[in-house]
């Protein structure tokens, strides 16, 4: 078995991993990047629509273009990269007793066989996966023609195959909306998009550009209550949640866009604690997980709605990894909890002295709300928000100095307060 000794191993060569690796290299660290596919870029490669890069590059790019910018950097910086390599295990046993212990991570590829990475730090950036039919428990038969929207996107955009001619899309997540447009463009008829919630799960711009512009009906507050068909999908039954009568729509294809979940399988082998709300690792303000020296960023940490935010977060994570290797002390930290109207807050700990950046996801739709950071009864910081909805991530910078009087006994919470309309 080969042994490869480095400062940092980055697992996953998508948007998060590429940003973390390039930032670490820029800071002079000996970093190695591992990707299980045979090309860098991850899911960006199948997102051939535009709208990427508006924040980070200040211009509008397609997914593959966005990926290429970083892939080019990786090559220019001569960052060693293993493609087609699968990581099987993170062995963190030595870290149990020794905070500075090195980690052993095992991976293999057809070209290299088994490789053992002997590293000081690990960046987890494995991204997420799609929830599927079993996760939402759609009853009915099990014919062919039921695909997750991401798989359908790969079939159409990368491989050049059309999964079906008459399509019903379950869930109004962004990939589902984008696939509604894409399927229309290749000649399929998208007969319905069915959303269980009373509001759309995807970005507003996608509702407008992908459904409204194509006259595709969006059924809010409805569920697909049954999938029918013996060999191939023949129809779905759609049931309104207000108690009115179900109706049947004939179709040969069902695409599921019902959410994404962090892909934490490899993280689990390292005994890393997970946040039940995000499904990703629990991290502190440095993006360090419960195991010293193991960091996480991007969609494996929590699912982002814009790749630009993934890049931003991953660069921030890389800076922390650099500090960790440089033995910069972490500073005093305190737990932060998600309170009313928020599904989660990431990271799970804040630093008392220094800048904090928090990502949150709302549980409500509101045009008039305020984010409040509290310690018990005291409001430490608040920020008015114009529009919030569950599909759009909230990111705030918390100014320095705010936590300077906070100590171990304080219960820190962030919540979303709905304000009265005037």
């Amino acid at each position: 078995m080969k042994i490869e000794k480095r400062d940092v191993l980055v697992i996953g060569g998508g948007a998060a991993g590429m940003a973390a690796a390039t930032e670490l290299k820029k800071r002079g660290r000996d970093v190695v990047l591992v990707e299980r596919d045979h090309v860098l870029g991850g899911i960006l490669n199948q997102c051939i629509h535009n709208g990427f890069g508006l924040h980070h590059f200040k211009e509008e790019l397609t997914g593959p273009e966005y990926a290429e910018r970083f892939a080019d950097l990786i090559h220019e910086q001569h960052i060693p990269t293993h493609l087609g390599m699968t990581i099987t295990e993170i062995d963190t046993r030595e870290a149990e007793n020794d905070q500075k212990a090195r980690h052993r991570v095992y991976g293999f590829s057809s070209a290299q066989g088994m490789v053992c990475f002997d590293v000081q730090a690990v960046v987890l950036s494995m991204g997420c996966r799609e929830r599927n039919r079993g996760n939402i428990g759609t009853p009915g038969t099990r014919p062919s023609g039921v695909y997750t929207a991401g798989l359908a996107q790969r079939l159409v955009n990368v491989e050049g195959y059309i999964p079906g001619k008459e399509v019903v899309i379950v869930g109004s997540g962004d990939i589902g909306l984008i696939m509604a447009r894409r399927m229309s463009w290749v000649g399929a008829k998208v007969k319905a998009v069915v959303e269980i919630q009373p509001y759309p799960a995807g970005l507003t711009r996608n509702i407008v550009q992908c459904l409204n512009d194509f006259g595709i009906p969006l059924y809010l507050n409805h569920v697909v209550s049954e999938i029918r068909g013996k060999d191939r999908v023949e129809a779905v039954e759609i049931t309104p949640r207000d108690g009115s009568e179900p109706f049947v729509v004939d179709c040969d294809t069902v695409l599921l866009s019902v959410g994404l979940v962090p892909d934490t399988e490899v993280a689990k082998t390292g005994g890393i604690s997970l946040n039940p709300e995000t499904g990703g690792p629990l991290v502190d303000y440095r993006h360090e997980t419960s195991v010293p020296g193991i960091f996480a960023c991007g969609n494996v940490l929590h699912v982002h709605d814009l790749v630009d935010y993934v890049t931003e977060e991953s660069i921030r994570c890389a800076v922390s990894v650099d500090d960790f290797i440089g033995e910069e002390p972490a500073g005093m930290q305190i737990d932060i909890h998600a309170g009313a109207n928020l599904k989660y807050v990431v990271p799970g700990r804040m630093i008392l002295q220094g800048k904090n950046h928090l990502y949150m996801r709302s549980l409500i739709v509101s045009n008039h709300s305020e984010i409040q950071l509290t310690a018990g009864e005291r409001v430490l910081f608040s920020k008015k928000l114009r529009h919030v909805q569950p599909s759009e991530m909230i990111g705030i910078d918390v100014p320095e100095e705010i936590l300077k009087d906070i100590g171990d006994g304080d219960h820190l919470e962030v919540h979303l307060k709905e304000m009265n309309h005037e």
């Binding site: 087609g84 428990g137 491989e159 050049g160 195959y161 999964p163 001619k165 399929a188 191939r232």
Partner: protein, 485 residues
Amino acid sequence: MDCYDVAIIGGGVSGAAVARRLSAYKLKTVLLEKEADVSFGVSKANSGIIHGGFHHGKKALKSRLEIKGNLMFDQLQKELHFPFRRNGILVAAFSSEEMRTVEELYQNGLDNGAIGIELCSRSRILSLEPKLNPDVVGGLHAPGGGMIEPYQFVFSLMESALKNGVRLMTDFKVSKAEKRGDCYHMTDATGRTVQAGWVVNAAGLYADEISRIFGAEEYDIIPRKGEEFLLDRNASAFTQRVIFPVPSKVSKGMLVIPTVEGTTMVGPTALIGDDKEDKSTTRGNLEQVFSSARRMIPSVSEKDIITSFAGLRPVLEGNDFYIALSSIAPRLVHVAGIQSPGLTAAPAIGEYVKDLLRKAGLVLEENPEYDPEIQAVPRFRGTEKEELDRLIADNPAYGEVVCRCESISEAEIVTAIRRGHRTLDGIKFYTRARMGRCQGGFCTFRILQILQRETGQSIEDLTKRGNGSYLVSAKVGDMPVEEMV
């Protein structure tokens, strides 16, 4: 056209077990399967339990064959290398009344000669399975029970039969049969004909129809639907042994099943139906299934569900197996009503049918070239690092992970295809690819590409499980696009 000595109708576990047993003799045997692969009918949705020999009294044929079949599994595994674990079965009782039924089961087990069967006190059963609800009052332990993966078992039986000269014809649905002289002429819907002197009717749900086609005994197979839920590999409900409730008169009840591959199954339901094709799942059963299961193992959670599926048991009036020579149609053997514990009994059914045929006059002469062993396929998952390093050096396709959830390499996919499994479901049942938590989201297209490369078929011609289960409609650019106005 040649006349086969024996035609077996149906490639489920019974048909495959009979085929393999007969392959030890100098016979020309053909197995006719109406689906695209074997094990695609009743056997596919089986729970995979090797039963412990205590549910029924000795009088039932199924009980005798269950005990005999159970004991054959260790040897079979040595020869056929399918995943098998004798992890034992527990029956958990929650009242003194239930305990009385457990005592009856215990007596059944003693009468049947079930190995090591043991009545358990509360503390004993809790030490055997600490995840049990602490309200348990006692129960039964049958250490001879175990788990297999039903389809992998059927595939390995079939592979062994093929290796020893049996011929398999898939997509062959017998729709007509005529006796001409010593031979039955059987025709399928497309007009293909097969001739055979003896016929074994192992057609599962359709054994009654086959019997009618041959003008043999009249009986009705009633489909009894069972719905099961598959939980994630990481589910905390995973137990050491198979957990049964105390059975009712109609069913063995809702079980918690730790599969041999490390996932957990919960179910099955038992609903009498009238549609032999109705394998739809419903929402309504979920709550009932989970509340029954949670009564035994409180950590069973709906949150861990990966998928649910339904299967149909072929049930005959009287609930016993019907394995007998027809007294109307000459040289036809019925293997009908093979519901639970059919999987456990299957090896014994093979033996039993062989004896029936011999008694009825079929000449059985040992096949000197019979080789009971098939070649084991090294599996990527569970292989030690150093061993994996060697595997990859020998065959780089072991270094390519196709299904990341279940850790299935390209080498295993290629083996499945080369051993005759050419649909997505066939490959899934052979390798477990697409069976994990993402249910094929990442690997489906990789598998299609490998299938295309290995078989020369186009992607448009590939299917999920044969017939009309096509996967893609057209190439991009080949479908007319309506002009936007």
